[in-house]
Amino acid sequence: MRLQPEINHFYSRLKVLQYLTILLFLFFLSAFWYLQVIHHDYYSQLSEINHLRIVSLRAPRGAILDYRGELLAGNRPSYNIAIYRSEFNSAREALSNIRSFFPLRPEEATAVLQSDRSVPLNRPLVIRGDASLEEVALVESRKVVYPNLSVEVEPKRLYPYHQLAAPTIGYIGELSPNEIKNPAYRRFKAGDLVGQLGIEKTYNHYLAGTDGWIKQMVNSKGSQVRVLQRQEPQPGKTITLTLDSHLQRYIESLFSGLRGAAVVLSPQSGAIIAMVNSPSFDPNLFSRRLSSAGWSEWLGNPFYSLQNRCIQNLYPPGSAFKLLIAIAALEEEVINPSAKLYCYGAIYLYRHRFSCHALGGHGLVDLYKGIVHSCNVYFYQLGQRLGANRIADYAHKLGLGVKTGVDLPYEKEGLIPTPQWKEAQWGEKWNPGETISVAIGQGAVQVTPLQMAVFISAIANGGTIYQPYLLEKVSDSWGRILVRNHPKVSRRLSLKPNTLKQVRKGMWGVVNDNGTGWRAWVEGIDMAGKTGTAQLVSSKGGVSDKMLPPDLRSHAWFVGFAPFDHPEVVVVVLVENGGAGGVAAAPIAGKIFKAYFAGKEEAKTAGRPTLSTASQESKSISSQE
């Protein structure tokens, strides 16, 4: 009764359905096995990226202050528009999703896609840095529709005085691929801003803070459900420099329209009071992301320069080098200070005519007169007596042709030529006539303005070579001093007491005794100095510098110190293609000395209260109590 014939027929159809069902279930099983067991890790990761977001809390970079506590580099708040990619298959897709709402310029899009690989998936990609308030408002108002866009706050570097001391202070930029590999930058990640030049680079480890972050759980609309973890940002340390921004600004104004450099240094410590480069640049430009068009415009402009000429550019010292020859000659006793040599306006040595700048000659010349009038013939003969090797030895000892060790990156060494150097470099024999050129700071001699400042300091302070420095102290954001920098002595030279006395006397005469540097003279300041005119082409018989094309004209130097009895400041001025040192450089140096002492006077009357030192004093008082 149970199995009627027709039912039996349906039975086979039901059997088919049964097999179909079982097959389908086996298929389902394998599909879930595939997703949940085999590819679990992949999807698990995607799921985490989906709902866990990391919001960066950018740490403000430490401020850079001058010795008064005046702000040279600080921060201002800025807003970045960023996009989370987790819901998309690629960054490209993420960008195309917001294209109609928030269009990017083609070069912006390229930059975003480039940064795609280096930024972890749960962190957003910045698609527009330093966005306008309108853009921020737009993104915030459409958060529901575009949950993947976010606005993050980032303190942006601000240099309130723009080009002021810019090559010295430096600028910041994104971590370069080379720096990523450098262990010194281990705590930084791609896209982080680090110092690229100047103080910003040297003391990046103090200035850079440590970014914090919030790990948050978000829903599909991108709104925060819960904060899982929070790491507060650590602000960077404040750096106080030895620079005097007022003097710096004044000197920069003296250089307007000129190319050149100036260093103001304390000869008793090596502290750099001013370090001027002209032309300079506006480091604020680097705080924005420069477009390629912006870059090319920037690089082509002759009134911008990133070069720190004080340490990166090499110049022949010209007659200023005669001070070194004088020291070496006195130390080696190849001449007596009072011994006189005759100058006819020229001298024949090694069958070559070496001329003096005074056509009629200086007549009888002793050391004092040689320095005061910068007589070439006198120093040609001292150079010949010393020889190139001894000259180089003394130059290196006195800080010329060697790195000063200043706390700035990219310092150059310079060069004091010797026969061995020529042999190694060119494979040629030393021509004795080259020693004669070296004796007046020409030929292959190349120094930096800062080396000259260190050298003059040694003359002024009695033979101590200080390592020049800019860092006064490092303090935390509460004003507590963490590191206080102390002057470092590179070496103390044991020179005969009379040597430097004689040279200093000559330098006094240069300014005060109708010498080549008389234009530096300032009433009430007892200064000493030396001019230099570094020729770029050999002048044949009285071809005036003024008749040369501007870029072949001589570099003008003035080096000096004051006060004469108790030197407390060294000034080095270099004017590129400025012509004669006594004409182009000396007046500038005179104004610098004047400004320096006037500023000191003013500070004395005003009591010079600076923020940081004031708090330091009050702290020490309270600790005594």
């Binding site: 039912i7 349906f10 039901l14 049964q18 279930f25 389902f28 599909a31 949940q36 995607l46 829903n219």
Partner: protein
């Protein structure tokens, strides 16, 4: 009509498994909605299950022959109900699917499914043929096409396909030649191609194309497929735990209490939970098949077989969707998904199967 020996053949196991599944559904609905604006939905679902079980009980009291005889009236009424929202209904997000009455709304397509199933089974049973030729399946085809067309106009493409599943299922069990089945499938494909260019709405086309090319637009239709796969895959073997499926709880998976409730299960209970749930479904299906095998007469076989193919179709499409193997088509999963009409219709269908089974020896 009601005899004590009916209970002797009652499939208690099937009823128990169905109730267990529905209970799991209530729990999953709780998990899916407890943090949303409607945290009480699991209670509503409980109400639907109770009403469905009540209807199931009522169905048991009537002989399925009687139900089949009155099926043409139910069918007619259901067609009118299908017309009602099209003519008078208000649009809810672009579709007219519901009849609203007081606080409740009824989905007439669910009534039409059961009515069509009964009518087709009754028609074939009255035909008394062992082998069905092409001309024998034409009229049943029109019977299924009528409600399918009305549902498609709502528009609800997924649901209208379930009528096709019922039609093919009943015809297959009723003995349609394999060649006829093949011809029917060809005709259906033809209709599909024609409607692609004429009737299909853009959003429906988009869903189909983004499935084939899922990277086309992540923010919309492809997004769903992707998020579903992430939810299922991230569940792993043991799952993330009850109430802690981040994909579903944080609303990355859309409609997580209705169409995609199985992905919630997969995410929170993992592969183990998935396998257990699939096993329960398999046993349910095999028991329904068994009821069909032991049915007293062709009518019983057709009703049971038809319901089997309806259940199997709905289950398979939903699971394929969940596993990212099919475009998201808005088809819920039987017994688990939230939804009143759907739950009640499914339980009514189960009632029909139990009905056939318990009357296998009654004359």
């Amino acid at each position: 009509m009601w005899e004590r020996r009916l209970l002797a053949n009652f499939d208690w196991g099937l009823l128990a498994l169905v109730i267990i599944t529905a209970a799991v559904g209530v729990v999953l609905v709780f998990s899916a909605t407890h943090k949303t604006a409607q945290p009480y939905l699991y209670l509503t679902q409980l109400l639907w299950v109770s009403i469905g079980l009540g209807l199931l009980l009522i169905i048991l009291f009537f002989d399925y022959h009687f139900l089949a005889q009155i099926s043409k009236y139910i069918y007619g009424i259901s067609l009118l109900m299908l017309l009602y929202p099209l003519l008078f209904g208000s649009e809810v997000s672009g579709v007219r699917r519901w009849i609203r009455w007081g606080g409740f709304s009824l989905q007439p397509s669910e009534v039409a499914k059961i009515a069509t199933l009964l009518l087709l089974a009754y028609y074939y049973a009255e035909m008394e043929k062992v082998v069905l030729r092409f001309r024998d399946v034409i009229i049943p085809g029109l019977m299924a096409a009528l409600p399918a067309g009305l549902v498609a106009l709502q528009p609800d493409l997924g649901s209208s396909l379930t009528f096709v599943a019922i039609y093919l299922g009943v015809s297959f069990v009723a003995g349609a030649r394999l060649r006829v089945i093949g011809q029917l499938i060809l005709i259906l494909l033809l209709i599909a191609v024609v409607s692609w260019f004429t009737i299909l709405k853009d959003y429906q086309k988009e869903r189909l194309t983004t499935f084939l090319k899922p990277r086309l637009d992540p923010a919309d239709a492809g997004y769903q497929v992707r998020q579903l796969k992430i939810a299922v895959g991230s569940g792993g073997i043991w799952g993330k735990g009850f109430l802690s499926g981040s994909q579903s709880q944080l609303e990355f998976v859309p409609a997580q209490h209705t169409d995609f409730i199985f992905s919630l299960l997969a995410e929170e209970e993992g592969f183990v939970g998935t396998v257990l749930m699939l096993a329960i479904y398999l046993v349910i299906l095999l028991r329904i098949l068994n009821s069909a095998k032991v049915a007293r007469d062709p009518l019983g076989v057709f009703i049971t077989g038809g319901f089997l193919s309806l259940f199997l179709f709905q289950l398979s499409t939903n699971i394929c969707m969940t596993a990212g193997l099919m475009p998201t088509s808005g088809l819920p999963i039987p017994l688990l998904s939230y939804g009143g009409s759907y739950m009640i219709a499914t339980l009514a269908g189960v009632g029909l199967v139990l009905n056939v089974r318990m009357r296998r020896t009654v004359n």
